[in-house]
């Protein structure tokens, strides 16, 4: 290193004592990877990027991109009912099953217990009633959501390729039953970028009882770089891994340490001819520092009214966790996060929706935890004028069978031949239902839709053509929806 006079500049809240413009110029001129616009006034930034020599131009993989066509939704909140909710006990009304309890019927099923050709009917255990102007039949498990059905679009004829949790989870999240592809949230961020670089563009919130089967594979960016990977946000304590500075370092002390670090790094940067890789690393520390305050702020509920918290059920121990996560999701969407996924259910068996044993205990638990918060989320988004720009998606990796899994009891095995999902907001029609399963809900019989059509619909609402969103990998233009062209579910949009 060249000799320099000892000159320790006074520490400031500015970037290493340089002017803001110097900082912009030195780092912005050389960006290759870090999203920076959250740090900067974007107008100034773009002007600088334009001035930069072509060889060192700024390529930010998460920079906001124009959608392919004007999309209705800007963000997605995916409420993932992990384990597989029973459609015929919730939203897919089967009056013909009344009185059929315990009757053995011929029906093809495939689940964890293998393929079967007959089974003992378990009659839906809850009463249904009609709600809203649309007269939608909803079971007594959802008294709150029932109030919102005029804003909800139900798909009753969903199908998936696998009746096993591992591969079905991968398919619902990444389109493929095989491991290794990027998740929906990754594709959305790849296609649209993120408008707030101080927060991750793809956020995942887990059930405190555990993650889903295959854990992080469910928010992996697969063959795409890690910018597009989901970040786990906790609802209590520090929201993001390693966000909290060590206990023995105050905020000022850490700032001092960072300023000193950046002095070393800037000297080195200068010696290396302003190399863009080095400049990006310098800036990533500033972003990290900033994230330490923006991420906790995003989940800090102290500026939310008691009435709002109650709307989400945060005052009731049963609904407080999921309610808090739904409210966190709204706050993140407000701050520009593109894709938020909340898991209801974790671990295995009855701590998830996987009701193999006692259907009643299982579904009363999970519906009870989620009904009010979901209804609250819809209501809150509507009154804030955010509903039309926020697409809510509800469902699990599959549904459940009409028949019992075991000789005794009400437990139902998995069912990928037919199940229900719903969407709300984000420009989808309200009060509509498409597709049908047969009269006992064993398989989709009218307008069957595949997971990839659900994905296509989500991308379409965001202004992305699902058949043109491609990523070159392994000798092929890969797509979320697979090789063949896929149409969105036009009936809903």
């Amino acid at each position: 290193l060249k000799e320099k006079k000892v000159n320790i500049p006074p520490k400031t809240q500015e970037f290493c004592g340089r002017t803001r413009r110097e900082f912009l110029w030195q780092t912005g001129a050389g960006f290759t990877g870090v999203a920076l616009s959250g740090l900067l006034d974007s107008g100034v930034f773009q002007a600088l990027a334009a001035e930069a020599p072509a060889s060192r131009s700024f390529v930010n993989p998460l920079a906001p991109k124009e959608p392919m066509f004007p999309g209705k939704a800007k963000s997605v909140i995916f409420l993932f009912m992990y384990g597989g909710p029973s459609h015929i006990d919730t939203f897919d009304y089967k009056p013909a099953m009344v009185g059929m309890d315990n009757k053995t019927v011929k029906v093809k099923t495939a689940g964890r217990g293998g393929k079967k050709n007959e089974g003992r009917i378990v009659e839906p255990r809850w009463k249904f009633k009609q709600y809203g102007d649309c007269g939608k039949w909803v079971s007594d498990l959802y008294p709150h959501l029932g109030q919102q059905v005029d804003d909800v679009a139900f798909i009753h004829s969903m199908t998936a390729d696998s009746p096993q949790h591992g591969s079905a989870m991968l398919q619902m999240n990444s389109g493929k039953i095989l491991s290794g592809s990027p998740c929906l949230g990754s594709w959305v961020n790849y296609g649209l970028g993120s408008v707030n670089e101080n927060l991750p563009g793809f956020v995942v919130m887990l059930d405190p009882r555990g993650g889903p089967i295959s854990g992080p594979k469910n928010w992996s960016s697969g063959y795409m770089p890690a910018h597009f990977q989901g970040t786990v946000f906790r609802s209590a304590g520090e929201p993001i891994l390693d966000l909290r500075r060590p206990d023995d370092l105050t905020e000022n002390a850490q700032r001092y340490l960072l300023d000193t670090l950046q002095e070393y790094n800037n000297e080195h940067l200068e010696l290396c001819g302003g190399n863009p890789t080095l400049a990006s690393r310098v800036a990533s520390y500033e972003l990290a520092y900033k994230m330490q305050s923006t991420a906790p702020e995003a989940i800090d509920m102290s500026d939310e009214s008691e009435e709002t918290k109650q709307l989400y059920g945060m005052d009731d121990p049963r609904t407080s966790t999921f309610g808090r996560q739904c409210l966190m999701a709204r706050r993140m969407v407000e701050r520009g996060v593109r894709f938020v996924q909340i898991y209801s259910g974790g671990n295995h068996n009855d701590t998830s929706w996987d009701a193999h044993g006692d259907l009643i205990v299982n579904h009363e638990l999970h519906c009870g935890e989620t009904d009010k918060p979901m209804a609250g989320l819809i209501a809150d988004l509507k009154r804030r004028g955010m509903f039309d720009e926020t697409l809510i998606v509800w469902g699990g990796e599959f549904g459940r069978q009409p028949t019992a899994e075991y000789e005794k009891g009400t437990g139902r095995d998995h069912n990928a031949y037919g199940f229900t999902m719903w969407m709300a907001g984000g420009g989808v029609k309200g009060g509509v239902s498409v597709g049908k399963t047969d009269e006992i809900g064993s398989a989709a019989v009218e307008k069957p839709f595949h997971v990839k059509q659900l994905h296509a619909t989500i991308l379409h609402q965001l202004g992305i053509d699902p058949n043109r969103l491609t990523y070159f990998q392994g000798g092929l233009d890969q797509k979320l929806v697979g090789v063949e062209d896929v149409e969105p579910i036009w009936e809903l949009v």
Binding site: E3, P212, S214, S220, T260, C272, T277, Y285, G475
Partner: protein
């Protein structure tokens, strides 16, 4: 030193280069009688086929997008809706060039072509868009045909050793490599960057060869050594060190998507898989010829001499993700064979043959039948866990038999103890829990969850003891005898292979026999007739012999390109796993072929080439060049300078351990489990499952290549720094720059623990003087003498932290050590 190196280079010129090599048409299209037409055919047409033809060709009168038809020169020139594509008055103003440069329109719409392909098309247009009608026979639409044109594609042609070009700056030429690179630089009127500083060079060669930084002592000794052979001696020492194999094995493990679990719902640990990792390390360390290395992995069990390492090598077939719970078994079987074809094709041949599974390859000349002929080589492989291991003798005598007997008895006792508790519990279990209990990996969690209700505390304690005992025994198997994860076939006769229509295992088409890709050879694969009691068909050996034959145009090219890639952070062919039409053509085709010839002629030994590469002037250039050169060679296509890069995750973790003097150099053996925080484990469906948190600290401090690779749970420090995805071959690491990396480096428990160890070690070594402490910390991370400013700055930080920010005196040094490990100079390599 220079004189000696030049002499060495000249000897290479004289003895090494005998075969002549036709002038490369890319370098000099005018030297051929019909050079323009050939340039169009061999360079331009593949690009058009891959990126334009699907929308812009048709038989005369057929429909094409924007009415722009590339099928003939006439229609090409006249263009479509937006006017002529080629301006015959001003070639370089042509609309096609503006389109591919994304100036007005943007073509192809899926993404801009790589700069090298844009350059090829630009050059072709500026040559006057020469045409060749011999291509008219090719169907305008549909998959590329297997014809003479395809066989003449640059990577499918036989390798011919080119002559080393003559250059003027002889000073620069230490190895023939330098002449190839310099020739292109001189042609472009550019100069190579100045030689890197000695300290920079030392760091660079350490990371290239062993993936670790030099110690301050090693750096000091090298700086003090002015002899001509100082650098060469360092290179030789590093190539001979066991860390060389650890570093280079990591590259290979990335390629073959090495992981130690099955993935999917259960993500079970693969038995004995670490022996494959050790096999790869040992192979690099012993400089095993690359052809032998491939043969063992593909067919170690079918070679004439069966060796333990040959059996372990076939663990290659067991490394992928496998869904034991797959609903469609037959589909899963073919998915796994596809995974083997994808990996073998991309890694060994640079071909994405897997794209021809459901239909003819859309970009490369591989019909579907070729895919299934390739699959037929692997058709005998048994799927499934029960059939994936074999007993092998690790030492010739099988080790101490008595010891082995005792081990087995103890192991059985532990097994029985575990089963006793499990069997007692089983009858109490219901529904989902009972089903889960059938999965062995889930049992301990379920047993624990059922205590004390159904398993008494005493029984649970006993159960835990047996579990620990079994694990200990598994980790400490008697030397000599072991089980190996390996390939197992059904017997001498595999089932008949058929072409599967649209890739569906239920739609059998024509039967096929094993065969090589038709574009690469017309040779028939001649199959051996195995004896009735043979354990395998012998087919894989036939494939292995073809892949490693000297005539195979791809194997050597692909491997020398990887050597180049891992030393220079980019391949001569940038798409290291794709040497097909959609790949990026080589920036230095002659250099590539020269290296490929050297590899084969040198008996497929890698260390020799590795040494030549790091001894070259090209490797020893500075990463800094002047603005004018930057402007003329922005992507470093010509190697005007060295590419600065961020270290990879494993290099970062290993370097942290090394500089804090905490690295445990222990080699070989079962994998280690660095601690993972509960917050991260919370993402698992059963938090903590499959991760052994009790690994002792000294074991945790081993190199990253020994860290357990669990598909669904990657150590956070490695994950955040772009660890290889293990579901498919990883040809190149991403090097993202993200704020979460900074958070990890500043706030994580691991970094702060290491900073403490680092600080303690420095205090032991230099005492309590802050300036000496700072100097020593900087010396360790940068391997150079820090200057006064740097020392003063660090000392001042420590004073300020203590006096103004309430940091305890002994902690201030830890904070400085943390800072030191965050320096760009430490985490990046220039």
């Amino acid at each position: 030193m220079r004189a000696r190196l030049i002499a060495a280079a000249i000897i290479c010129f004289l003895i090494g280069i005998t075969a002549s090599y036709a002038e490369d048409i890319e370098d000099n299209p005018q030297s051929f009688p019909d050079a323009g037409a050939e340039y169009y055919q061999t360079q331009v047409l593949p690009i058009l086929r891959a990126h334009c033809y699907s929308c812009h060709t048709a038989e005369p009168g057929g429909e094409v997008d924007s009415e722009f038809n590339m099928a003939s020169r006439e229609t090409f020139v006249s263009g479509g809706h937006s006017g002529p594509a080629i301006d015959e008055q001003a070639w370089s103003e042509s609309a096609i060039l503006r389109a591919i440069n994304y100036e007005d329109s943007e073509m192809p719409p899926k993404g801009k072509l790589p700069q090298s392909q844009i350059a090829t098309i630009t050059r072709w247009v500026e040559m006057g868009a020469p045409w060749s009608d011999t291509t008219e026979a090719s169907p305008a639409q549909g998959p590329p045909p297997v014809d003479d044109l395809a066989r003449n594609f640059w990577s499918f042609r036989p390798v011919k050793r080119p002559e080393v070009p003559a250059v003027s700056d002889l000073e620069f030429v230490r190895t023939p490599i330098d002449a190839f690179v310099l020739a292109k630089l001189e042609e472009a009127g550019l100069s190579p960057a100045a030689p890197a500083r000695k300290t920079t060079l030392l760091r660079r060669v350490y990371y290239s060869l062993i993936g670790l930084p030099p110690t301050p002592e090693e750096a000091k000794a090298f700086l003090a050594d002015d002899s001509a052979s100082a650098f060469e001696r360092v290179v030789d020492r590093l190539l001979d060190s066991p860390q060389y194999g650890e570093r280079w094995a990591r590259h290979w493990l990335d390629l073959v998507r090495y992981a130690e679990t099955d993935g999917y719902e259960f993500d079970r640990a693969k038995p004995e898989v670490w022996r494959y990792r050790d096999y790869v390390i040992d192979s690099f360390n012993s400089d095993k010829p690359y052809d032998r290395f491939l043969k063992e992995q593909l067919a170690g069990d079918e070679l004439d001499l069966e060796t333990a390492s040959g059996i372990i090598a076939t663990g290659y077939y067991r490394l992928g993700a496998t869904d034991s719970g797959a609903a469609e078994r037959l589909q899963a079987e073919f998915d796994e064979l596809d995974d083997v074809i994808a990996t073998t094709g991309q890694v060994m041949l640079g071909l994405s043959m897997n794209c021809a599974r459901c239909h003819d390859h859309k970009i490369d000349p591989f019909p579907t039948a070729d895919y299934y002929r390739m699959l037929a080589f692997f058709r005998g492989i048994k799927r499934g866990r029960g059939d994936s291991t074999r007993q092998i003798q690790v030492t010739p005598d099988g080790g101490d038999q008595q010891l082995a007997g005792r081990w087995e008895a103890e192991f059985d006792a532990a097994e029985r103890g575990i089963q006793r508790t499990e069997n007692r519990l089983r009858r109490h279990l219901k529904a989902g829990e009972a089903d889960d209990f059938e999965e062995e990996t889930y049992r301990p969690a379920i047993v624990r969850a059922n205590s004390p209700l159904h398993v008494s505390e005493v029984d649970l304690a006993e159960y835990e003891t047996f579990l620990t005992k079994r694990q200990e025994l598994e980790d400490n198997q008697p030397i000599g005898l072991a089980r190996a994860l390996c390939v197992v076939e059904r017997g001498p006769q595999p089932p008949q292979t058929h072409v599967l229509v649209r890739g569906s295992p239920y739609a059998k088409g024509d039967p096929v026999s094993p065969g090589f890709p038709s574009v690469l050879t017309s040779m028939e694969a001649s199959m051996p007739t195995p004896k009735n009691d043979a354990t395998s068909s012998g087919r894989r050996r036939v494939l292995a012999e073809w892949i490693t034959s000297c005539d195979n145009p791809l194997t050597a090219r692909v491997m020398v390109n990887r050597l180049w890639h891992y030393n220079f952070d980019r391949g001569i062919v940038r798409s290291t796993n794709d040497f097909g039409y959609a790949g990026t053509p080589p920036t230095h085709p002659k250099l590539l072929d020269w290296l490929a010839s050297e590899l084969v002629d040198g008996g497929w030994k890698l260390k020799r080439l590795q040494k030549m590469i790091v001894m070259s002037s090209v490797f020893q250039m500075s990463s800094i060049t002047d603005d004018q050169t930057m402007e003329r060679d922005p992507e470093n296509d010509l190697f005007t300078r060295f590419n600065l890069r961020r270290l990879e995750g494993e290099e970062i973790r290993d370097s942290i351990l090394a500089v804090s003097s905490n690295l445990n150099p222990k080699t070989h053996g079962p994998s280690i489990y660095p601690s993972i925080s509960d917050e991260v484990l919370a993402g698992q469906s059963r938090p903590g499952e499959g991760w052994r948190q009790e690994t002792p600290p000294e074991e945790q401090a081993r190199r990253s290549v020994y860290v357990h690779v669990k598909r669904s749970l990657i150590v956070p420090l490695l994950a955040v720094f772009d660890a290889a995805d293990t579901d498919a071959s990883c040809p190149a690491r991403f090097a993202t720059m993200q704020p979460t990396q900074a958070l990890t480096m500043l706030n994580s428990e691991f970094l702060n623990e290491q900073a403490k160890i680092f600080a303690d070690d420095i205090r032991n070594e230099v005492g309590d003087d802050p300036k000496s402490q700072v100097a020593e910390a900087l010396r360790r991370v940068t391997q150079r003498e820090p200057n006064e400013v740097e020392i003063e700055r660090g000392a001042q930080l420590m004073v300020a932290l203590t006096r103004e920010h309430g940091v305890a005196a002994d902690r201030a040094l830890q904070k400085f050590c943390l800072l030191a490990m965050n320096l760009n100079e430490f985490l990046c390599l220039d």
